[in-house]
């Protein structure tokens, strides 16, 4: 049992609260810019994923890593989530996991 380093479910809005902390977010790959992935968060904002291997465009990836700035995450683990992710549901879960049901998550 170890709950010392949780990865909080975030969208772009919630990312701001966790700069320097471990987070996880689902983004859709928009384009590859050098070593970074430019993706769209579940709440429709642009996020930069640093240090990830490239993924095909339009796929959803889950990024677990450290929130670098308001709009970027330094990736530790990226998982291919395929191309059929219900972003509105995921976004709502992010909000609930940081709100009413926070005690279940962090």
């Amino acid at each position: 049992m170890d709950t010392s380093s949780p990865a909080v479910l975030v969208n772009a809005e919630l990312l701001k609260m966790y700069v320097g902390k471990r987070v996880r977010a689902v983004v859709m790959v928009m384009r590859i810019d050098g070593g970074s992935i430019i993706g769209q968060s579940t709440d429709g904002h642009q996020l930069t994923i640093k240090g990830s291997q490239p993924f095909p465009l339009s796929t959803f990836i889950e990024v677990i890593g450290i929130a670098d700035t308001n709009q970027s995450i330094r990736a530790e683990i990226c998982t291919d989530f395929g191309d059929k992710i219900d972003t509105s549901t995921y976004d709502r879960v992010c909000q609930l996991a940081n709100g009413e049901f926070k005690s279940l998550f962090v």
Partner: protein, 278 residues
């Protein structure tokens, strides 16, 4: 632990049970009746398990949201997988924390299934939550790779639902007594008559609302079998004589009983009869 699990497995396998079933049975240890009583599988996060109270030092007594926890299901990422001949261990990271998963392997089919479970993939684990050497761990009877990643969000929604359901259930059952007691006392304060009069109609006799002691004495006279038998009932003066009280006091009591439907006037304004036979 190994030997007891092995005995259980061989016992059930020998009896012709399917191996996967045997795993479930021996996972529940040697108190199947107790385990089956709460076979309900709870969707949980590692954080919730970490926060759980252990009811006693017994191996499988955890309480989450006021509910006994036995079977649990979690969704998370596999890390630190260690494969042995008889069992597979790994750490499940669901983003809220990490928990050790232990999976006994009984045959080739099961070990093939677990070969697909590699570090870094998402799996749904179902098993029994146990305390082992002071640590919480899950003895799994199912480890399935997640293929549709919406299942992760779905699992967390279920966790919230189960949490909400159990917490609300506790609130309802916990507040039954404080809520019922004032409710009942209010009804008695507001209308003892309202509550008792219908009873008097249903069960005539001494349950009727007799008012004061004096009113009760008056009514007792009306209830005497010989007075019940008289068609015209009892004359007011008979009661005045019997009780030796002023006539107006008897009339007041008779009016009271008339108003409450305990007696009624018969041949004239001076004769009254009980309603209990009527």
């Amino acid at each position: 632990m190994y030997s007891s699990e092995f005995d259980g497995a061989s016992l059930f396998s020998g009896g012709g049970f399917m191996p996967s079933q045997a795993t479930q049975f021996n996972d529940s240890g040697f108190s199947p009746a107790k385990s089956r009583a709460n076979q309900c599988t709870l969707q949980l996060t590692v954080k919730q398990i970490s926060d759980a109270d252990q009811a006693s030092d017994d191996k499988s007594n955890f309480i989450i949201d006021g509910v006994d926890v036995n079977s649990v299901t979690l969704v998370g990422m596999v890390t630190n997988k260690v494969e042995k001949i008889t069992d597979v261990n790994f750490t499940l990271d669901d983003g809220t924390g990490r928990i050790d998963i232990h999976r006994w392997v009984n045959d080739a089919a099961e070990s093939n299934q677990l070969a697909d479970v590699t570090n870094g993939i998402y799996v749904r684990v179902t098993g029994q939550l146990k305390g082992f050497q002071g640590k919480k761990q899950i003895v799994a009877f199912s480890v399935k790779p997640v293929t549709d990643f919406n299942e992760i969000a779905y699992h967390f929604i279920e966790c919230m639902y189960v949490h909400l359901y159990n917490v609300k259930l506790q609130q309802i059952s916990g507040s039954v007594h404080p809520q019922t007691v004032p409710g009942m006392s209010n009804s008695f304060q507001n209308g003892p008559m309202g509550h008792q009069t219908p009873i008097s109609n249903k069960f005539p006799g001494y349950l009727v609302d007799a008012g004061s002691d004096f009113d009760q004495m008056v009514l007792t006279i009306f209830h005497e079998p010989e007075n019940l038998a008289k068609e015209s009932g009892v004359h007011v003066d008979t009661i005045v004589e019997r009780l030796g009280v002023p006539r107006n006091k008897v009339m007041a009591s008779i009016n009271y009983h008339t108003d409450n439907g305990n007696i009624y006037s018969t041949i004239d304004d001076y004769h009254y009869k009980s309603t209990i036979n009527g």
